[in-house]
Symmetry: C2
Subunit: 145 residues, 2 copies
């Protein structure tokens, strides 16, 4: 399983350099009620400053991953950096990582492996500044002609 | 403005080949009430079959783009294919397109350019088979340390 993130390469980005150096990073799904803290982690802090701490999130370390997780995250994903692809068209870098480990509450996991993000009030964002919760409509079977 | 889509290159994908041939495609934001039709467009139809038509969507063509739009889409985006980047790690192709034109109802557009997708009941998906609507929590100002 792979995850994609793209980051501008034209401004100082300590998060990007940190991931390239350590080859590990985490993805954290935040509860909607913490949206202000989540937004605050986007501020441009100086090198060596933990944006988790500054935003008011507690960090936690889990076995098998050197990067910190957000303690209160409803889904915690440990990622290993596999490849960085420069996208010259818009001066960004595409980071491709593989999933090493996922931690979540058993109650969120359906029998078929579906992760119920709505019931855990996971935060959704649009653009860089708008935040939402989701309401489930339904799931559909594999579509055939 | 750029948009990213990745597609498997190991199975027959007429949509991908069609975009490579014509260099144009459209992105269509669907109303939540049409989620069953939207899902049906993912079925693997034979070459030459319009998945819009088979799913029950009416097509519409707009000036400046040769690819069809979904008539009832609340946001219609005309895209020009700029680059295809093969991602060998998981046998997918990353398509990068530039936005040629966006059509939406003036009522969806805030004064600062923000597009209100919640009020127009735009459909959200998770994975390949789960569908949601969104409820707005709020927007936040640019975060500073």
């Amino acid at each position: 399983m792979f995850g994609l993130i793209s980051r501008p390469d034209t401004v100082q980005r300590d998060t990007l350099q940190n991931i390239i150096n350590t080859k590990e990073y985490t993805l954290n799904f935040i509860k909607a009620e913490h949206y202000k803290k989540a937004h605050q982690t986007s501020a441009r802090y100086d090198i060596g400053i933990s944006e988790f701490e500054k935003a008011g999130f507690d960090e936690i370390y889990l076995p098998g991953c050197h990067a910190p997780f957000v303690k209160d995250a409803v889904v915690k994903i440990a990622m290993k950096l596999e490849e960085c692809i420069p996208i010259t068209l818009n001066d960004t870098i595409l980071m491709i990582g593989s999933v090493m480990q996922i931690e979540l509450d058993d109650k969120m996991l359906n029998e078929d492996g579906f992760v119920n993000l709505t019931s855990s009030e996971a935060l959704i964002s649009q653009g860089l500044d708008a935040y939402f919760t989701s309401q489930e409509i339904g799931r559909l079977p594999y579509a055939k002609p």
